[in-house]
Subunit: 218 residues, 2 copies
DNA sequence: AATTGTGAAATTGTTCACAGCA
DNA sequence: TGCTGTGAACAATTTCACAATT
């Protein structure tokens, strides 16, 4: 199968293309050129073509790319042409916002379980899902077919939570807690650090940082 | 002053170092080596030293870096050795989570104004702040000394909101809406795309992607 | 003895430029 | 003619490796 090293930036840009293709599709546009796609994302046409070429040739010379087909193809590459079962752990500010965040559902990430360790929250209802006691995670998460765990607990307890999550056999974790977590090598861990982009803005303003091509401004 | 091109990745790593240094400081550790810092972030010691060397020499050969001093120095570089006044626009799921998010305050990002266009929300109270009508943004934001705007409104209206924000003279914007926004070249815009990391996890699982050095897993 | 700071080398990522095709 | 797909050229970033310093 695939035997090239696809860089992290390429994957992130595929996410961008996917979003834009969905917009174009909604507008009823049938084809799109690498130039148009590039302009929307503030990238170069060559970059777009190179990114796509890692996975095959989807375009037509002289014409461009068929919007719907390309969208489907990228969705397949990213693995979002299907549904993923997600558990949210911690139903505080961030956790409950995520449970209600429609964009996740739209991308195929379906929240099927919610966990917390606060007795006042356990049993309460969020978007039709009963909050479970986190100590039942190892039983209930596999039972519900959970494949991805989102950690939205306070920093100080995040490592304990993630240890339990790993022990329950979950292999993919998205961490919103503002701490560095340790997981075994066979577990995928990504961090969502919401202060980071604010700090970038702060840096830019303090240093009158000249903006350039915008490599990964998402 | 500074006359080197500092890359975006370097800035992001400074955020990581800052967070880790705060942890080390809290643990009472006085010095740290590039090796220890690197291990915590899954980077190389050379990378850490190179990043820091862009801004000066803060370490002592044979000894390492003084934790508190380095933390302060990085805070100064990032511009977070001060307070920034922030307005949150849109007090739905995400917006209200951000208003309550303690990490922002800890980093010096102080939410001083909240705006919405929903009459049922205007006037209501979130963490001691009265929600203002967004149509008064141009008057009230400058008055409150707002320097950074966080956009947490639904995608379809985000461009209109951002246009008004720019017109009110705001030069730094953090966008949580899942759309590409256009702003003039002199306005700093960063996007927080929460689906992106989930899509990365999805990609990794579907492709059995081998994890490498983790350049920007935050 | 340990660890920084940094040029130089190696690697990775981006852009160019053009042949190939609809 | 217009636009893709892609090697080759170029640019940026990372790592190496070692002299300098405590």
């Amino acid at each position: 199968m695939e035997r090239k090293r696809i860089s992290e930036s390429t994957i992130h840009r595929l996410s961008l293309y996917l979003r834009t293709l969905a917009e174009l599709d909604a507008d009823g546009q049938a084809t799109v050129s690498s130039k148009e796609l590039a302009d929307r994302e503030k990238l170069t046409p060559a970059q777009v073509r190179k990114d796509l070429s890692f996975f095959g040739s989807f375009g037509t010379r002289g014409l461009g790319y068929p919007v719907i087909e390309l969208k489907d193809k990228i969705a397949r590459i990213l693995g979002v042409n299907r549904t993923w079962n997600v558990a949210v752990i911690g139903v505080g500010n961030i956790g409950s916002a995520l449970v209600s965040y429609k964009e996740f559902a739209r991308q195929g990430f379906r929240i099927v379980k919610i966990f917390d360790n606060d007795q006042r929250k356990i049993g309460s209802n969020h978007k039709g899902i009963q909050v479970s006691d986190f100590k039942d995670f190892a039983d209930e998460a596999p039972e519900a077919g959970v494949e991805i765990a989102i950690i939205a607990v306070p920093g100080p307890i995040a490592q304990y939570v993630v240890d339990d999550v790993v022990r329950a056999g979950i292999k993919a974790i998205l961490n919103f807690a503002p701490v560095n977590l340790r997981v075994p090598a066979d577990v995928y861990l990504r961090n969502e650090n919401m202060s980071m982009e604010l700090e970038y803005l702060s840096f830019a303003m303090v240093n009158n940082h000249v903006q350039k091509k915008t490599r990964r401004t998402v």
